[in-house]
Each structure stands twice: as structure tokens, then as C-alpha cells.
């Protein structure tokens, strides 16, 4: 499971060293083993929310597996990723924003806009080579707008992304109030291709989601940009005083989230073969819920993008289980998601309380 290498995996050579001879006077010699233990304990706490996500996911798999036939079949599990690939991408972008202590309410609307815009462009006969990049770029552009509002105009992220959300929704209706089907070959091909071994399959959408997830992981843990994201989330003032490029990083985070929303819009369009202005309503809350259930703390500074994947999968499993159950009405989905969210919020709270 997601053991982040940044502080744990490579710890061996450094932590095992004997206390050095030139320790300052008065500094009690501390055995390396003890230090290591303490570091591990500290890390444990840091990982606890993610551990919680893993536990929930495993529990759901076990419950589902014992309750329903074929629940643990490769097909069902493959579909779990495939069906939720757009949400994975959304949650990845949202993770960055939440890690800085911000929030992005615009992503659902951007998904709709990206879809509607793409559908209209396909309809007007533009080639896929133009349409697909534009669908992503419109997200990036709106991300820039949100970022500029947050940074230059100094509006709260909540309000800035709310404005972008209204803007995107409004544009959707201007472009096409009705659902616009996409019949382009490119989209059809992307939507129907399957790769896989045996019953394990993956679609281009799934691959795109995983690539984005991997890149996000690299970005967060192996670049200065990523580390700055964590620093900003902990304390923006400190990050600034440490000489870190706070403004650029925050702008980057919103652009990233917007771009992810654009990609998610593309993936959503691929799966629905249409663009519709009422798509994606409530998607932003689901994405936020997935990130929180994945162990990212909403105040920022702590969390992992791989956790967000777990969060998305957990939410997806709820949907799958309700489908398998058959008798449960659709509205139970939102009630279950709310319940799960509640449990995780309480768990996070307990962890934070223990830490202080």
C-alpha cells in the first residue's frame, strides 16, 4: 500500500547511525534505534488516515465478496477503476488544492463545460486533434482564472472557485442547453477500446487516470513544487518567509486542478458519448469527499494523492454494492457516502486531537 518513500523507505541509512561524538554538550545522547522508533511512530500517525482508508476499502471488499456472487471478479474490480476514472482525475487535482488549504468548487461545472464544448466542436466538424486538447485546455484556462482571483484579487478560494463554477455553468448553457451527442470516431474508439489480460481489463480512460495519478505522485513527492504545496498547506506565511515561491505554486495548483477537471470532462465525455450542461452537478462534493476519505486533511499540509485513489475507489464500491444489492434505491448512495464521510471526519479529528 502507499508507503511514501520521502520519509520512511529510505530512512535506514540515516537513522541507524550512532550518535555522533561532537554532539553539543547538554544534549543527551539518544540511541539511534530510539530515534528511529520515534520517527516511525510519528509517521504512523501521519499515515493513520490513509490506513483508515485502506481498512475501509478492504472491509467493503470483504463484505461485498461474502454477500454477493461475482463481486470480487476481475471484471467488477476492473470496472471499478474504469467507471471512476474521471473521478480519480478530479480527486487528484482536488488533492493538490486541498493540500494547500484551498478548495475548488468549480470542477463539476468544468467537467460539464469541457464536455459540452467538445461535443459542439465535434459536431461542427473539428478534428479530434483540435477538440481533445481544447477540452483539456478550457479547464486549465478556468484554473488560471480561479488562481488569479485567489492570488491577485485575493478572494477566498471558496468564492473564487464558486465564481468560476457559475461562469462555467453559464457558458455551458450558452453553448448548448441540451445534451449534444458525440459521434466522432476518436471518442468512440477511446470509449470502446479494451486492453487486458484475461478478465482484467483497462480502458484508455483508466490508463489516462493512472498516468495522471502517477505523475501527481511524482510531482508531490519528488519535485520542489510538490514539497512547496505541503509547506503552503502547513503555514502559508512560513512558506513565504522561507523564500518559497508561494504565489506561483498556488497558481499552479489551481491550474492543475482546472486541467484535471478538463481531463475528467474528456473522460466523462468518452464514457457518456455526449456533452450535457447539467453533467457534473455535485461532482465537486464527491471529489472533496473522496479526498477526505482518502486521508487528506482539509486544513492542508497533510495527505497523499494515492489516498485519494483509495477514497474514489471506496465511493465507487458503495455504488457497486448498491447495484449488486438490487433492492436498495439510488438515494442510499448519497446517504452511505455521507456516513462514510462522517466516519472519516471523526477519525481525522481524533488523530489531530491526539497529535496536539
Amino acid at each position: 500500500m502507499p508507503t511514501e518513500p520521502l520519509t520512511s523507505a529510505d530512512a535506514g541509512p540515516s537513522a541507524g547511525e550512532a550518535p555522533s561524538a561532537d554532539a553539543a554538550p547538554g544534549d543527551r545522547p539518544r540511541p539511534g534505534a530510539l530515534l528511529r522508533l520515534r520517527a516511525l511512530l510519528h509517521l504512523d500517525q501521519q499515515y493513520l488516515p490513509v490506513v483508515g482508508s485502506v481498512v475501509v476499502l478492504v472491509l467493503m471488499l470483504v463484505v461485498g465478496g461474502t454477500r454477493y456472487d461475482n463481486f470480487l471478479s476481475p471484471l467488477v474490480l476492473s470496472n471499478l477503476l474504469i467507471d471512476n476514472s474521471y473521478m480519480v482525475v478530479l480527486a487528484v487535482g482536488m488533492t493538490f488544492v486541498i493540500l494547500t488549504g484551498g478548495i475548488d468548487l468549480s470542477v463539476g461545472a468544468v467537467v460539464a463545460l469541457s464536455g459540452v464544448l467538445g461535443a459542439r466542436m465535434f459536431e461542427s466538424g473539428y478534428p479530434a486533434a483540435v477538440c481533445l486538447p481544447v477540452m483539456v485546455l478550457v479547464g486549465a484556462l478556468l484554473g488560471v482564472l480561479a488562481g488569479v482571483m485567489v492570488l491577485v484579487v485575493e478572494v477566498e478560494p471558496f468564492i473564487a472557485t464558486l465564481a468560476v463554477m457559475f461562469l462555467a455553468r453559464g457558458l455551458c448553457y450558452v453553448i448548448a442547453p441540451e445534451s449534444v451527442p458525440i459521434r466522432a470516431d476518436a471518442i468512440t474508439t477511446l470509449g470502446t477500446s479494451r486492453f487486458g489480460a484475461g478478465e482484467w481489463v483497462i480502458t484508455p480512460s483508466g490508463i489516462i487516470a493512472l498516468v495522471i495519478l502517477g505523475s501527481a505522485f511524482f510531482l508531490l513527492h519528488y519535485t520542489r513544487f510538490g514539497r512547496t504545496v505541503y509547506a503552503i498547506g502547513e503555514d502559508e506565511g512560513s512558506a513565504r518567509l522561507m523564500g518559497l515561491p508561494v504565489t506561483v505554486t498556488k497558481l499552479g495548483v489551481y491550474v492543475l486542478s482546472g486541467t484535471c477537471a478538463g481531463v475528467a470532462g474528456l473522460l466523462f465525455a468518452i464514457s457518456t458519448r455526449a456533452g450535457y450542461s447539467r453533467n457534473g452537478i455535485g461532482m465537486e462534493t464527491t471529489a472533496i469527499a473522496a479526498v477526505v476519505i482518502g486521508g487528506t486533511i482539509l486544513t492542508g499540509g497533510s495527505g497523499y494523492v494515492l489516498g485519494s485513489l483509495l477514497g474514489v475507489l471506496a465511493l465507487g464500491l458503495i455504488q457497486t454494492m448498491i447495484t449488486f444489492e438490487g433492492t436498495l434505491s439510488s438515494w442510499w448512495t448519497s446517504i452511505f457516502i455521507g456516513t462514510l464521510l462522517f466516519l472519516f471526519v471523526v477519525l481525522q479529528r481524533v488523530i489531530v486531537l491526539r497529535r496536539t
Binding site: 554532539a23 547538554g26 505541503y230 512558506a239 518567509l241 522561507m242 518559497l244
Partner: protein, 517 residues
């Protein structure tokens, strides 16, 4: 820096200040609050942009737009609050933004190695992987210095680094400063503690009200003159201050006068006299059980280092934290102080050491801050009448000489001393029988300090009990009838403050009997 000015509309925070700093020296920057020290530092480090003047670094004019730009030019700052990221590892905090990279990715192994080397330079043996948040403030501060050195800082600015350090830690910091000085780093050092300034600095610059008073060598400037340069008052004022506040201890209301008992266990006093009686009052991980009697009209001083448990005891007495052991008797009835409201009902008030965070409500007005306590006690339904509010506010603004005397001014715009007075007014308006003052004179100017000291003496004279906590032992000695000495979260002694109790007696107790270098 020459002729640097910095204006905020309406206020001239810095007015044509010249300041120079040479490589290989420790230069102390001194001044009262509001003198412009912090502003000067912020102008120097790109946090604020000066409206006039020049900043020359190695004879090259600089204009720093951001802290990052200043750091790139070799100016690093370590702030009192340690502006690092506790959620990240020590290594990351040292290296953040300067991590070695390989093929575009951060090379964590090399990052940790370099961090360890940097820490070694400062004689710090820390596990670079450990989370910064697991270390003490003092260590975090040294980590901040290590970070500053990563960029080969030519100028290192230490803004009140010693405020929350104990003596050992200060010595450790000084060792680091000396070694950096030998390496040719120019160090700008800001501190309120004059001992430390004289111990470490090679040169001093004094600011007052945003203007330069002068640049001095420590050897040339005796302490008294330094203080008078800082406060801009003649020595006579200081002496008057001494005389006035000195009278506090000999206040007629003081109980136990003439008791020449030196060390004595608490509880030797007759219990029925005590307004408040604590037995075995303690809280796990915070403070060991404490016995304490407080009588009416008595000033009890708490002496001890930061973290010795002095604040923690005060918080227990107020119910700010809940005690998990011991009993408390207030005015003859046993009580459990589950929250501050309980304590207030028993007419105990507590003024926190952290004015901004735990005391004032910055965006409310002076008026609202003063009546807040009284109003909270009445509940929200029974609003104080406008007349009663005006009476209260007028009375305390006059009595405590709060400036500006505008009840509608927002409290966060007041100076530190006046903010402290507003806070005091809030508690006094509630007419407490026991007033706990935690560091009421920290970070405020000398004049306000004297007024507050005088006030404490007057209040005790009127029969109020006061617990007085201060890092400045002289102040505690001057004001208190009895002194409770705290060390390592434990009450180690209680002294009746007689003439033969001297500073070194208390220092000895705080230090635990050992003689410190």
C-alpha cells in the same frame, strides 16, 4: 542601509534610518516596541518595500521584492515564531527549495545527507528524517538557522530568537552564533534581554519611534544609558519607576509582613485566611501536583523559566485547562473549575500571556473588548445598557490611561501596552477577587510596564489577590509578597518575600541548586 524610510499611509514606521552591518560581527538592534525594529528587518528582507532610501549589499544597491529575493541575495532571517513547517521532516525544512535534484527529481538521499552536514556545522545531531514538529522550539530555531546557512547566507537576521529558550538553549544558540561570526557571517540580533545583548554583540544600534538614535559599541555604553536611549527618557524617569514600583512589595495590605521564614512549605499559613486553597492540583503531562494558598490582598509571584509550569498552574487555577488531580477551595467552598466560566463565577480572572491569541478580540472595539467579560457573564439575553457600558468604559479608559481614549477604536490597532491595558480593564470590570496576570508586562514599553506594576500594587492594597507571573525576576521580586518557584513542571519552593530574599536566591532555586556557568 542608508536613509531608509518606510511609510504606511498615515504612519511613518521608519523615518530615514541608517543602519550598517559588517561581516563577522554580531550587531544588536535595540528599541522598545514600535521603535521600528521589526519594520527595519522586514524592509531588509523584502517583506515590506521601503518608500525611500537605499539598501546596499556589498556596495550594490538592492531592492528586494520578496523574501525569496532577499534570500537569493544572501540575507536569511530566523523569526521568533520559527517559521518552518512542522509537518515536514527536519531535512526538508533545512533544504526546502534547495534540494539537490537528479534527473529532475529530488534526490532524497542527497538531501538528507546535505541536511545532516548542515546540522553538524551547528553541532546539531538530529535525525533528518524525524518530523520537525517532534522537536522543541529551541531545536526548531537551530534548524531554522541551519536552513539559513544552506544558502550561504552572508547576513543572518535573528529576530528575538531567545524569547522562548531557557538558559542552556540560549548558550547553545550563542555558541552557534559565535562560530558563524568566525566564519564571517554578519549577524543582526534582536533581543529584549539586555544581558544577552551585552554577552554576544559587537555593536548595537538603537531605534526609537522609527528613528535612529545611534550606533554604539557595548563597551562604550553602560546599561542605564542604553535603556535611556531606548525609551528616550532621562534616567530620572527610570529611578522614579524603581522607587514607585519598589513600594509595591511593602504595600500595607500585604499579609505576612515580618515573617522571616525563608523557605517554607505551603500550608503553613492558616487555611481560613486563604481566599483560594489548592491541594495537589495537577494535570498529567502538564504540571505536577501543586499546593498553594492565596490570601486576600496578597501578590503571589510565580518565578520559573518558560515551560517550568508557571503558566500551566495559572491555567489550572482558572479552569482554562482542567485539572485531573487535587482539590481546590475558593472562598471556603470546594470547587471544580471545569471551564473559565466557573472560575469567573468564583471571581477568578486570568489574563493570558498571549495577548493576541488568547486575550483580545482584535476586530472588536476597545469598548466591546472591555465589556466582553461582563457581558458574557450576564449571557447574551441581558445586554448591558448603553449607559452602563459607557460608564465602565469611561472609567477604565481614564483609570488605566488607555490611548487612544477612543472606545470605538479597533483593539488590534492599539499598541502593545494599550492592548494589555484594555485586557486588564476587561478583567477589572468583572471585579475579580483573584486576578491572575501571566506576563502582563511582556513586550510593552517601559512606561506602560510601570503603570501596570503600580496597578498591581494598588489592587492588592484594595484587597484583591493577584498572581503575578513574569519572566523578569526583578519584577516578580519587586511586587510579590510571596514567591512560588517552579522548575520542571513542579513547584520547588515558596518564599515569603522579605529583604533577605534576593535575585540570586530565586535564580538558585530555579536553577535547582546547581551553579550555572
Amino acid at each position: 542601509m542608508t536613509d531608509v524610510s518606510l511609510e504606511f499611509p498615515g504612519v511613518k514606521a521608519l523615518d530615514g534610518v541608517d543602519f550598517r552591518l559588517f561581516p563577522g560581527e554580531v550587531h544588536a538592534l535595540l528599541g522598545e516596541n514600535g521603535a521600528g525594529k521589526s519594520t527595519l528587518i522586514k524592509a531588509l528582507t523584502g517583506v515590506y518595500r521601503p518608500s525611500g532610501g537605499h539598501i546596499l549589499l556589498d556596495d550594490v544597491e538592492q531592492r528586494f521584492a520578496t523574501p525569496a529575493a532577499a534570500q537569493a541575495a544572501g540575507i536569511s532571517t530566523v523569526y521568533q515564531e520559527v517559521n518552518l513547517c512542522p509537518n515536514l521532516s527536519v531535512a526538508e525544512n533545512v533544504m526546502l527549495g534547495h534540494e539537490p535534484r537528479r534527473a529532475g527529481a529530488i534526490d532524497w538521499r542527497a538531501t538528507r545527507r546535505q541536511a545532516r552536514e548542515q546540522l553538524k556545522r551547528l553541532n546539531l545531531d538530529l535525525d533528518p528524517v524525524s518530523g520537525l514538529g517532534t522537536h522543541s522550539i529551541a531545536v526548531q530555531q537551530l534548524v531554522a538557522i541551519a536552513r539559513a546557512m544552506v544558502i550561504d547566507a552572508k547576513v543572518l537576521i535573528l529576530d528575538e530568537p531567545t524569547s522562548s529558550l531557557d538558559a542552556d538553549e540560549v548558550e547553545r544558540l550563542f555558541a552557534v552564533m559565535r562560530s558563524l561570526r568566525e566564519q564571517g557571517v554578519a549577524i543582526l540580533f534582536v533581543s529584549h534581554f539586555l544581558d544577552q545583548v551585552y554577552a554576544i554583540s559587537d555593536r548595537m544600534t538603537v531605534l526609537r519611534n522609527g528613528r535612529l538614535v545611534g550606533e554604539y559599541l557595548p563597551a562604550e555604553l553602560p546599561r542605564v544609558k542604553l535603556v535611556s536611549a531606548m525609551i528616550g527618557a532621562s534616567i530620572e524617569v527610570l529611578e522614579r519607576l524603581e522607587a514607585e514600583t519598589g513600594s509595591g512589595a511593602a504595600d500595607p495590605g500585604a499579609a505576612g509582613s515580618g515573617a522571616v521564614t525563608g523557605d517554607e512549605a505551603s500550608g503553613a499559613t492558616a487555611p481560613e485566611e486563604a481566599f483560594l486553597r489548592a491541594r495537589g492540583l495537577g494535570r498529567k503531562k502538564s504540571v505536577h501536583p501543586v499546593d498553594l494558598d492565596i490570601r486576600a490582598g496578597e501578590v503571589i509571584g510565580f518565578a520559573g523559566l518558560l515551560g517550568s509550569g508557571r503558566t500551566e498552574v495559572a491555567r489550572l487555577l482558572y479552569g482554562a485547562d482542567r485539572a485531573d488531580s487535587g482539590t481546590l477551595v475558593v472562598g471556603g467552598t470546594p470547587v471544580t473549575l471545569r471551564n473559565p466560566r466557573r472560575a469567573l463565577r468564583h471571581r477568578i480572572a486570568f489574563s493570558s500571556e498571549s495577548r493576541r491569541v488568547e486575550g483580545l478580540v482584535g476586530d472588536l472595539t476597545v469598548r466591546e473588548n472591555i465589556v466582553l467579560g461582563v457581558q458574557a457573564r450576564r449571557g447574551w439575553v441581558r445586554r448591558l445598557s448603553r449607559r452602563r457600558v459607557d460608564e465602565l468604559v469611561a472609567r477604565y479608559v481614564a483609570e488605566l490611561d488607555i490611548r487612544p481614549a477612543d472606545p470605538d477604536a479597533l483593539v488590534r490597532n492599539l499598541s502593545g501596552g494599550n492592548q494589555q491595558k484594555v485586557l486588564l480593564a476587561r478583567w477589572l470590570a468583572m471585579e475579580p477577587r483573584l486576578l491572575i496576570l501571566d506576563e502582563p508586562t511582556r513586550g510593552i514599553d517601559v512606561g506602560a510596564k510601570a503603570e501596570i506594576q503600580r496597578l498591581v500594587a494598588t489592587l492588592a492594597g484594595d484587597g484583591m489577590s493577584v498572581v503575578f507571573i513574569s519572566a523578569e525576576l526583578e519584577e516578580v521580586l519587586r511586587l510579590s509578597d510571596r514567591i512560588v518557584v517552579m522548575r520542571d513542571r513542579t513547584k520547588v519552593a515558596e518564599l515569603t518575600n522579605t529583604d533577605d530574599v534576593r535575585l540570586d536566591t530565586v535564580v538558585g532555586l530555579i536553577a535547582g541548586g546547581e551553579t550555572r556557568p
